[in-house]
Amino acid sequence: MARITFIQNDGTERVVEAESGMTVMEAAVKNSIPGIAAECGGACACATCHVYVDDAWRQATGQPEQMEEDMLDFAFDVRPSSRLSCQIKVSDALDGLVVRIPDKQF
């Protein structure tokens, strides 16, 4: 179980509880977090669940794998902290995770 904070571009924050094993994208969709379209349903095939991981959490969430890095080419305004939230697995170690939703998704 982990508590995840989603911060919108306008500063609005929402904290949700996510079970270990699910993805950050699933936690967002389940809690109707705006800005996470997840068009492909988590297949790492659309880049519409793009988030910026808070600097303090970048080490804990790790680096994108090749497929995810490739798919990030389809995201808008990609930064070093960019991740696809469907590829971040929730675990106890991520309790307190903070991610930001981009101003614009495709």
Binding site: E39, C40, A43, A45, C46, A47, T48, E69, D70, L72, D73, F74, F76, D77, V78, K104, Q105, F106
Partner: protein, 343 residues
């Protein structure tokens, strides 16, 4: 533009798994179908979004990938000889005076049919539009999401953005005609076929192509005429890139598209249907698969298959108003087996 007119029993809009299986179910009741899809191949989302991804809930198949399922369905529907019309989108649907419909695609192909089966899933796959302020005013004038005619780019300064196959292919194909060609990508690595990447870097060495790292953040120009774009480099600094034309290639997204203008009732971008016939608010127009909605609807491939079977029963009434349809099993009916080519 073609002025071809095709007359047939049924037109299926969408060649995803459910559209493909509709060919089967219609075929069993002697309804001949043509299938139209905006993609260049069958499979819909299965082919475009998850060809390599496993699907675990197709009955009878422990696990199957999107591409395998597509291939198997294509094999299964072969006996019915449906004709496919790819890389085009149905733009308009008109009612004919004597009953039936006329559909016209964006390539100008026309179809006249007795029933329409909309199996368009999440809508048609259309190129993603970068959310850049004011991009609308440049679209189709200076910003293009596809290349219809290479000649339109002759003698122009062209900027291609992206790192996939489309970006690389068009870099290679437009380079000979463009006045200058710049490829902009956010990183050194490419998703595109290694051979095309190599060809592109060869051209860079010979001075035919300029390759730059970065992402477009602003467009500049007037009256739809692009003059330059602002690019954010990977180190966070910005620079101006002069260009007359920009071609962004950021993949595809699903948009409902022209279906919304066909006079069918819509509910939150879905087509409400009844659960006995899967017919929309319009008689003779059916909706099956992810694009329809009804109480309890689940967006599952298996639900779409069921919907296709029931749809075909009602479609039979329209195509053969005077014929009684007797329900038969493929296991035991010799006439069905003859249609399947197994007897």
């Amino acid at each position: 533009m073609s002025d071809e007119l095709i007359k047939t029993d049924a037109v299926i809009v969408g060649a995803g798994p459910v559209g493909l299986f509709a060919v089967f179910e219609l075929g069993l009741v002697d309804i001949k179908a043509h299938v139209i899809d905006n993609l260049d191949r069958p499979g819909g989302q299965c082919a475009e979004l998850y060809p390599e991804k496993p699907i675990y809930d197709v009955p009878g198949l422990t696990v199957v990938t999107g591409q395998e399922l597509t291939d198997r369905l294509m094999e299964q529907i072969k006996p019915f000889g449906a004709e496919f019309h790819f890389s085009q989108r149905v733009e308009s649907l008109d009612r004919l005076d004597g009953g039936g419909f006329r559909l016209t695609t964006d390539l100008g192909k026309k179809f006249e049919c007795k029933v329409v089966v909309i199996a368009a899933g999440g809508g048609s796959f259309t190129p993603k539009r970068p959310p850049l302020p004011g991009i609308e005013q440049y679209e189709d004038k200076s910003v293009f999401y596809s290349v219809r005619k290479i000649e339109n780019f002759r003698g122009r300064d062209v900027l291609i953005v992206g790192g996939g196959d489309s970006a690389l292919d068009w870099t290679l194909n437009l380079q000979p005609v463009a006045k200058s060609l710049t490829l902009l990508h956010r990183r050194q690595e490419f998703r595109a076929a290694p051979a095309s990447v190599q060809k592109m870097f060869d051209l860079v060495e010979r001075g035919g192509v300029t390759f730059k790292l970065g992402q477009v953040t602003e467009l500049h120009g007037q009256g739809g005429k692009l003059t330059s774009v602002t690019v954010k480099a990977s180190d966070g600094s910005s620079f101006e890139q002069k260009t007359e034309v920009m071609l962004p290639f950021f993949g595809l997204t699903m948009k409902l598209g022209p279906v919304a203008n066909w006079g069918i009732n819509l509910h939150e971008n879905l087509l409400p249907v009844d659960t006995a016939k899967f017919e929309t608010s319009e008689k003779g127009i059916f909706a099956i698969g992810d694009i329809n909605t009804y109480p309890g609807k689940l967006k599952l491939i298996l639900s779409g298959f069921h919907e296709a079977a029931l749809m075909a029963q009602q479609a039979h009434h329209y195509v053969y108003p005077n014929k009684k349809l007797i329900f038969q099993y493929t296991t035991s009916s010799s006439s069905l087996q003859k249609k399947l080519g197994v007897k």
